[in-house]
Symmetry: C2
Subunit: 336 residues, 2 copies
């Protein structure tokens, strides 16, 4: 099992307490002794056992990332990846490890076995079993993305409502009036917020919203979106000249379905995505979309969690990041 603190103490002719002090940079050790111990640590290749340290200090040094969604949907989503990058950067500076959980049983274990010091909760939906375990665990938690109850945990999220609102307004400014909205499932609070943004913009402009104009796709996934839209286009009842989507992936599905049904984008149909993932720029045509600083959302959330763990007061519990429109090729002004 390698060399431990006792070995070092013995070799240096001091107590383990002194060695421990040197390792953790605590004051109160003579320069001479410190130097000697450091040298011996180097020579013997000593590496602290984080588990043991954790036991003694009653912390684990791990942060759990939990998302109730299927791993492929979350991890395969550049949206989350970018956020994770930000998270990773901050945890790094504070010497935390990231423990990911993709399955229900992993999440349960994570939350019930004192394996982590705090939780970053992603993409939760109403009714997710994880929420109950989380609650019972009493673990410091920060939510990333929209959540049912802003008061339950501190949170960081993009301004979903404002983002969609802006997108709709932009299309209206381009002359569109028959604008439909492709949304994710309403079990996601994000979807509800996005929906509100859409309705608000339409109402403000006194544009009628028929039930066909809100298309709810059961999952934030390209393929699901593709299938749903394919059916719609084939039925021939699709009347809109523009569509706003609650995610870039949804938009990509719409685009693919449109193309294979002979609907040209943007000439026959204008399209706006949401999130600005790398693919939005790479598709053909490139997708006009709503952008926000995902990495920063991640790093702020991580920072808040660390403060929470340290028992520091959090100034602003719920942070909302503004979104801005990125103009690309998928929108054009409506021709009369």
């Amino acid at each position: 099992m390698g060399v431990n603190i006792k070995d070092i103490a013995k070799a240096a002719g001091v107590s383990t307490a002194t060695v421990s002090r040197v390792i953790s940079g605590k004051p109160g050790v003579g320069e001479e002794t410190k130097k000697k111990i450091k040298q011996i640590i180097e020579e013997m290749g000593y590496r602290p056992n984080l588990g043991a340290r954790g036991l003694a200090k009653r912390r684990t040094g791990n942060i759990g990332i939990v998302s109730p969604r299927q791993s492929n949907i979350v991890l395969g989503n550049p949206f989350f990846i970018s956020i994770l990058e930000g998270v990773s950067h901050v945890l790094d500076q504070h010497d935390y490890n990231m423990v990911l959980s993709f399955t229900l049983s992993q999440q349960k274990r994570l939350l019930e076995t004192h394996s982590v010091d705090g939780i970053l909760l992603f993409a939760a939906r109403i009714g997710d079993p994880v929420l109950e375990w989380l609650d019972a665990s009493k673990l410091p938690t920060v939510v990333i993305g929209s959540y049912q109850d802003e008061n339950a945990y501190p949170s960081v999220r993009p301004d979903d409502e404002g983002g969609i609102y802006q997108a709709v307004k932009y299309l209206i400014a381009k002359g569109h009036t028959r604008i439909c909205f492709v949304n994710g499932p309403l079990s996601s609070i994000k979807s509800i917020r996005c929906r509100n943004g859409y309705l608000k913009a339409m109402e403000e402009e006194k544009l009628e919203v028929t039930s066909e104009q809100i298309i709810e796709v059961p999952e934030y996934d390209v393929l699901v979106s593709l299938k749903t839209m394919n059916r719609l286009f084939k039925e021939g009842k699709f009347q809109s000249t523009a569509v706003v989507c609650a995610s870039d992936y949804l938009a990509l599905g719409v685009m693919k379905a449109a193309i294979s049904n002979g609907i040209a984008i943007p000439n026959d149909l204008s399209l706006i995505g949401f999130g600005d993932v790398p693919f939005a720029e790479l598709s053909h045509p490139s997708i006009t979309t709503m952008h926000t600083d995902l990495k920063k959302i991640g790093s702020q959330a991580a920072q808040m969690l660390i403060n929470e763990i340290k028992g520091k007061k959090i100034r602003k519990r719920n942070r909302v990041f503004p979104m801005e429109l990125v103009e690309r090729q998928s929108v054009c002004a409506l021709k009369q």
Copy 2:
């Protein structure tokens, strides 16, 4: 800190040893006692402390996933995501947590602090500093993907060489002779293997390979591929009628560059990708590509690692998964 094993022991009027036996399902506890203890555990909501258990059993219950590449490149890559899904599934069954490391310092900590019981190494390149730490850590390790030394660690990987070989042969069967190859950097062993497959197929058919026909892109990334190809197309010296790529992402970059330079795919240029990530099917045109069972690669690697940790003999240390061609829309027969 919640209720611990002592509390349970006291409440049940037994020793902690007995409680421990019940928890870990060890034999040698009376039915009555066992029942009683189980009930009390339930009532008091006891959850074992994995850290403490780990200290006592000299294991951590964690598996580290390390990839020397930048997080966005690895994690943003559906190729790895699919593999991770397979990994996740197996680790789950064996009650292991997954600890991810995205940055150098995280990896160093992971490898030097007894934080994990084993390592799954992804996408290593020659000269990566991680390799040295890994080596020094003496941790059980399984490599996923091509690696410099097949004997160093057990490994699981797709048949890179055979895959590219098949792709080239397929194009030749379609009448192409001027076939170029877009590869990743040669610091990656995967790239070297892919290159060999290309050369082998071309040589077998006695087709000349000029130096311009092998295009080495410095990173397995869409944008980098896009830029490189854009430059090439603009120079106007591009002579091939078909291109094989060492990854779907590379292929996507080629496609995007071709389209924006007025080169139609597949009519002007046939294109084959590698890996069959979800986007290969969703692009327009959809990409003909080499497919393999990525999830299975992940689950096999995880299983091998667990066997390694348990000290079981591994029957076959280096496993190679065959690849097969998936015909889509990005290739057409050469018109004379």
